[in-house]
Subunit: 304 residues, 2 copies
């Protein structure tokens, strides 16, 4: 059995609990909260062990970091990945900032993991995550060509947080709608703080770096919470060339509950972490077989 | 540069040549034929080195086995995978018999590879191959549920060969048509040998083990070659559960030139073979990153 700790208990933490409970080869070591008196309010099941320091839990193999992305690399956060790796605990996160931030995190955790003989798997969600794997499969199958990743329709966490930070916004929801070729429309629904003019707030949103490059529509509503659902999706497509054959067409499409899928992928990565050498990995660097609870014989019979 | 030999020069051999030529990190060591006087007739490019024994080629890292599937494990075939592994040459095949045959091949080549410090990658095509990877991603993303693999429309090599072996058949083409839920219709087009009754030949085809379980339609045509095209496809779907969230929906679809895709995947596997420890692997056991000609930094920037 793989013993996993859940660090943080928002949407992803709750979904991780459910995914771990459903996995026959995994065991929940406990839930780590900043303030364990809040366990009930956060919805942690009554039977769960709740601690404020992961070292209070027995023999944790791996920690699922269900904390905000920006806390994962933050040295001031006591549950940051590097600190847990230093305790010899593998870490799984769904860090979602592409590019330099991902590269920097990877280098930092690779060093920490190699020093303390532990394994970090980063970006273990759906994008980055399984979409990254699919982009890789698409490209080695048809190395010349174009891949488009089209998100939604679904709530964008990043854009929603960005809108909420804008002056005059009381509550917000930003929905991403795919327009094709990797272009997206942003549908922004806001509640206003008293004393603010809608047209001015709307103009501020459209000028925000998160929105300035995309077609953005802002609408005022009475109750943002009435619009929220956790469904999301992606439509990926590649048209390319294999050898000398043009017009090789590939598509990958999914319609999913966002936190449930993210948590499920983190659980699969937790399993895989025990089969990697010390260091840091992204999903395309891990064999798919390691993410499944199967022997080689089962793998070949059921999947190959 | 990875130096690759092409063993056999049918559709897959020719497509492998094209895929290797297009790959900047690969070099063609030469083409291995049973009878090298047939090189021109088979369409081997004039500039290529052609030999009858792979040992005549300089420093071959990896051999692409573009020979019939059943020759790959055949000890009497001098280019069988195990014989080349014994020479210290990695082997890539697109062996396509699922189940026991694949398991047996894997065990045998694992032993040969470990003994001679070489690597075999088996079933490196699209099914088995990238479809196997996708089935794995689908299942770790939603562990409870059903996956269906729907093939076609496109020519089935295995079924076409089976029809050609039936008494009275002069030439044949068997096209696979998807009916959904992994069920398939077989459309069989045949030219008859003189003196044979269509109804009798048709009845024999429908009773053949390759066809007896599927809805099969047999039609007589004047010229089978006029119907042939190398296009094929697959539509895979999974509906399943991530954690406690039902109705997670995934689809993967492709429309492709069959030998070109198979060869391109074999070339990617050839690249990956140099990054594995000795032994035998199927595609879900290999990190996707190893199949791409990228550094870790490029991988993270472009795919993650």
């Amino acid at each position: 059995m793989v013993r996993a700790a859940i660090v943080g208990y928002g949407n992803i933490g709750k979904a991780s609990y459910e995914a771990l409970e459903a996995a026959k080869d995994m065991e929940i070591a406990g839930v780590v909260l900043r303030d364990k008196t809040k366990a009930q309010e956060k919805g942690v099941p009554a039977g769960a062990t709740v601690v404020e320091d992961i070292r209070e839990l027995n023999s944790v193999d791996v920690a699922l970091l269900c904390i905000p992305s920006l806390s994962v690399p933050n040295a001031n956060e006591k549950n940051a990945a590097a600190h847990l790796l230093a305790l010899g605990i593998n870490t799984i996160d769904s860090f979602d900032v592409h590019g330099d931030a991902m590269l920097n995190l990877c280098e930092k955790l690779d060093t920490a993991g190699k020093k303390h003989n532990s394994v970090a798997i980063i970006g273990a969600g759906w994008d980055p995550g399984i979409d990254s794997m699919i982009r890789g499969i698409f490209e080695f199958s048809a190395p010349r060509g174009l891949t488009y990743t089209n998100f939604g329709p679904g709530m964008s966490m990043g854009h929603t947080v960005a809108v909420k930070a804008i002056e005059g916004v009381k509550n917000a929801l930003s929905v991403t709608v795919p327009l094709g070729q990797g272009l997206h429309r942003r549908m922004v629904y806001i509640e206003l703080h008293a004393g603010h003019e809608f047209s001015e707030v709307s103009a501020r949103i459209k000028k925000d770096p998160y929105f300035v490059k995309d077609e953005t529509h802002v609408m005022q509503v009475e109750d943002v919470s009435a619009l929220q659902d956790m469904g999301h999706g992606v439509h990926m497509e590649r048209k390319g060339v294999s050898g000398a054959a043009d017009n090789q067409l590939f598509t990958f499409d999914m319609r999913i509950n966002n936190p449930a899928l993210t948590a499920q992928i983190m659980v699969a990565a937790a399993r895989a972490s025990l089969r990697q050498g010390a260091g840091c990995y992204t999903l395309p660097e891990i064999p798919i077989a390691h993410m499944l609870p199967v022997t080689r014989e089962e793998l070949i019979r059921r999947f190959v």
